[in-house]
């Protein structure tokens, strides 16, 4: 089956959830760190992406905790989410290898 490449925000959200469950604010901070400060997710963008990833079965609710009197939800990666992330990493690595090989070849 041909799977579409992940969008950059979806890739970083899956990557942010790959080591442990995180809440929305935690995902935003982790994405910023993973991307070296290049990608700052707006809250609306994050939940648009989360909504899609939950619908696709790649992310699911882990638990709810009470923080400052409000409920905070933690999300975790599913098996399908890990597979999608691994496939995307492999795709990007293959692209990088091909690009690097071309750059290493001296122009005729």
């Amino acid at each position: 089956m041909i799977t579409r490449p992940l969008t950059e925000p979806a890739f970083f959200v899956l990557a942010a959830l790959s080591d442990r469950p995180r809440h929305g604010y935690g995902v935003i901070g982790e994405v910023q760190e993973l991307s070296g400060g290049r990608v700052t997710l707006r809250v609306g963008t994050l939940y648009g992406v989360l909504d899609r990833l939950v619908a696709e079965g790649r992310v699911e609710l882990d638990r709810e905790e009470v923080h400052a009197g409000r409920v905070r939800r933690y999300y975790r990666l599913t098996g399908a989410g890990r597979t999608a992330l691994e496939a995307e990493v492999a795709r990007q690595e293959a692209n990088a290898r091909a690009g690097r090989a071309r750059l290493a070849a001296r122009p005729a």
């Binding site: 799977t3 579409r4 809440h23 929305g24 604010y25 935003i28 707006r42 809250v43 609306g44 963008t45 994050l46 939940y47 648009g48 989360l50 909504d51 899609r52 939950v54 619908a55 696709e56 923080h67 400052a68 409000r70 409920v71 905070r72 939800r73």
Partner: protein, 324 residues
Amino acid sequence: MTPLEQRYRELLRWLPEPARSRWADDMTETYLSVTTDDDPEYAEFGSPSLVDRLDVARLALALRLGAPGASVRAVAAGRTTRLVAAAGTAALAGTSLLGLVSTAWAHDRMPFLPAPDLSGPLLWGPREALLTVLDVLTVALAVCVVRGAAATRLLALVVLAGQLAWTASLPAPPLQLLAALTEAVPLVAAALLPPGVPLRRPWWLLGVAAAPLVGWPFALVPERPVDWLAALGDPVVAWALLSTGAAVVLLLRRRARGPAELAVAVLALATLPGLAARWPYDLGGHHATIVLATVGAAGTALVAGATGLRALAALPADRAPEHP
């Protein structure tokens, strides 16, 4: 609940159901964590920033136009917008292409076709240059809409701004502005389209683009045998009659699906200002055709619109299935 939390909850009412029920509580918590970090003073007097408002408005619009996670009705609304954008920009691209060919012909730039014998000097200034650029961009926009290109939104806004600037430079702005409304509707629809979804089986759009060509031969003949037929060469008249014909075909189907009927209604409605702008002029035999087209477009907008809305209201309000 702090006043700031209350303000964020009010802002998140912009989100359509069922997304609002799923995410509003958690989004509020995340917004408060991002903005206040539990600063009591900000929690009392702060309010969502303009960027937050635009962020929620963007998500709400995307969900209402059928973004992943949206309801079945929102997906249908998104399809309607896509059809309006595709058919509307194809229609505009048809006349733009005709304009480009005419300009090239007048400037003797057509191979194997001698330039027409004009009675006076050929007008060429900034306005004509702007119109030519807009024609090229309009054709490019129609291609972008069909292919679901990322540049669609920006290109639609550029063409819209260019059309408005060109209209404002004309001698009779009120009437011209009315006519420009007809062209603005598909451009606005194109500006709202989420990128990345190419149109399947787009060949029918060639017929839409070629619609004004049907009456073109009648307009070119110097001694017109039937004057009212020449009005078919007017693109707005052709679009109005085409939308009426499309509505008849759709309404003869056994079951209305919603988006197609609504799109035809919106496009028929869009032709009304353009037709109204032609009413004050004494156009001889054309007038009967313009009256007929106006009545047809108004009836199409009403009947197809009501049918489409009824079909849309009958759809379930829950989440649409994913189509990977």
